[in-house]
Each structure stands twice: as structure tokens, then as C-alpha cells.
């Protein structure tokens, strides 16, 4: 089961590939219905973690996030953290442009309290 959402001005491009176990999100995220939109993402992650045994990796190039998007992304990380504590292979790679160092500082904040592999990388 794959998930595919095209980017809009206020929502990131989201794609989740069931076979490869890669969830990618890139762009700005400030939709009015952030919880609704991320509910699909959270459901996908839950389904993947409970139905598959292969590794899950997140590829993120998120820029601006509004408060409810921050909460939703943290919820995704919580799921991943639980899975990691239960021995699953999971990882997050958060990419940023050299010209936008602020993104890496924000990713660092997200990374705090996460014990799974969380890499912040320059594009």
C-alpha cells in the first residue's frame, strides 16, 4: 500500500513506498487540517511497522512547519522510537540546503530525545 500526496503551497510532497519502506516528505507544511493530513501518514507508519519486518527509513526535506505539523511529525518520531526500542531497524535522514542552516538547527531540536539513528545532512 503506497501513499502519494503532491506538494501544494502549504503542504509537503509526501510519498510512502510499501516495498522499499521509505517515507519521504519535502517542502513546507502549514495546512489548516494538519492533523487530518498527517493521520494518513501516521496510519501508514503504524501499518508498516505492524505488518512488515523490513527496515523503515524516513527521508525528510521539510522546511517550514506550523505548530500542528510539528506535533504530527513528533508523533511519527514517537512511533519510530517505540519500534526502535522493540528492536526494529528504523532511521531518519533530514536534509537541508547549505543556504538554509536554520533548517538544520530545527532538525537538531527534533532529534533531541530520539535514540534511533537520526542523521541531519547537507544536500
Amino acid at each position: 500500500m503506497n501513499l502519494m500526496l503532491n506538494a501544494t503551497q502549504s503542504t509537503p510532497a509526501i510519498s510512502a513506498d510499501w516495498d522499499s519502506g521509505v517515507l519521504s516528505m519535502s517542502g513546507d507544511s502549514y495546512p489548516e487540517n494538519a492533523f487530518e493530513m498527517y493521520a494518513d501518514v501516521i496510519k501508514w507508519v503504524e501499518d508498516f511497522l505492524s505488518n512488515k519486518e523490513s527496515p523503515l527509513s524516513l527521508e525528510l526535506s521539510l522546511l517550514y512547519l506550523n505548530t500542528s505539523s510539528i506535533k504530527s511529525v513528533m508523533d511519527v518520531f514517537d512511533l519510530i522510537e517505540d519500534a526502535f526500542q522493540n528492536g526494529r531497524e528504523v532511521s531518519v535522514r533530514w536534509y537541508y540546503e547549505e543556504s538554509n542552516e536554520r533548517v538544520s538547527e530545527l532538525a537538531e531540536e527534533f532529534k533531541e530525545d530520539c535514540s534511533f539513528p537520526f542523521h541531519i545532512l547537507e544536500k
Binding site: T67, I70, L106
Partner: protein, 262 residues
Amino acid sequence: MKTDSYELETRIESLLKDDQYLDHPLREALSELWELNHQQWQRVEKITQLSDSYQSMMMRRERSLSERFNKQLRQLEKITRISDMYQKNLHEMNLELEKTSLEDPLTGLPNRRMIMRHLEGEFDRALLNSQQLGVAMVDVDYFKNVNDDYGHQVGDEVLISLSQIISSHVGEYGFCGRWGGEEFLILILDSNKDQVIQYMSELREKIALSKIDLSPTIMIQLSVSIGLSFFMEGDSSDVLLGRADKGLYQAKKEGRNNIVFN
């Protein structure tokens, strides 16, 4: 006096065991009462046990609730912190954008939009408080030749040098910016007509005498033409600008490197 319960129990038990009271009419009643007492004690014990286990269950529940509460509190704090960072970043980016939208990137002088903003403000002050306001439109003479002869890069450097001369000359008595191309606009505040003409004559002369030294081999000498106008009753900012523009046109027509008051 308080009854010693242990002693009482021992007495009753020995009375009930004693064969000599076997046929005593009270013995059966005492034996039943004794049995009932035992049952009551067992019930009390059971109730106490149940109550204890309820209590420990509630304590466990409370502990897990408070753990969950603390976890959510930590999460909320993290969200708030990250959200604050995003807001701070947005604010800084807004300031940067505003700055770049009001500044001429080549010379660092206020751009046309910024000058217009100032002009409107000063214009209102002139209108309300009858403050004096002069406008000078300054255009570099034969600037096209600099670009044609030396290239645009040298042209840009010339504009930077001129902008430095103009802004240091204008100093505190006014406000200057790049109007576009090789044109600069100066607002002169709180000065009368004669002072405005004098300030601008000095500027024209200063530029005409400056040798712009760009490299060992390039030395450029330029002049400017200036159109001047002064706030009059009934003016709008457009009319005031229009008169300065006309003055500039006239100055060019009359041979350049001069000032025309209009």
C-alpha cells in the same frame, strides 16, 4: 476498663473445651457466638485485603497517569520550543526581506520604494506642520558613455562612488536614495529655498571636481544635472516630483552640469 481481648479469647476457648460445662445451658449459645465472632473477623480481614489491593491498583494507575502527563508535558514543551524557533526564523526572514525590498542592492542606498515612503511621510509633515521640503532629482551626465567605454562593471563602480559622495554630502539635512538607473533623488528637510539651492550647488560642484579613481588606468570625471522643486501649498507629492523632473529636463537641455529650480 478496657477488656484484654487475648485473655478473653483464652478464657472462652478453655471454657468451651472444659467437659464439666458440656451440659451447661449457656455453652451452646456461647459456642455459636464464638463461631460468629470468628466469621466476622474473617470478613473484616477479607475487606481489608480487598481495600488494600484497590488502593495499590489506584496508586499504580495514578503513577502511570502522572508518567503520561509528564511525557505529554515534555512533548508540549518541545513543540512550543520548536514552534518558537520557526516563528523567530520567520520574523528574521521577514526583516531581511523588508530590508532588501527597500534597499538598492548595488549602492546600499534606499531604493525608489523607500524614497517614496519617506517622501509621503515628509510630504504629510510639510502639509500639516508647514515644514519646508525640497526635492532634488540628480542625474549623471553622459553616463551611457561610461558604460559604453569601460563596460557595465565600471559603470556600477562609478554609481557606487557617486552614491557615497551624495549620501555623505546630504548627511543629516535630508534623505537620499537611488531613484533608478543613474538617477538619485534627494529630499531636503527644514531648509528654505536658498539653502536648498546652495546645498545642491555645492553637491554639483563637489561631483564635478571629483576624480573617481577606479584602477591605475581608469580615472573618471563626471558631472550631474539637478532639477529642484520646493513644496508649495496645493502640491501633491506627484506634482512636487513632477516639477523637480521638469527642472532636471530643463537642466539637461541647457547644457548639463547645472541646476534648475522649478
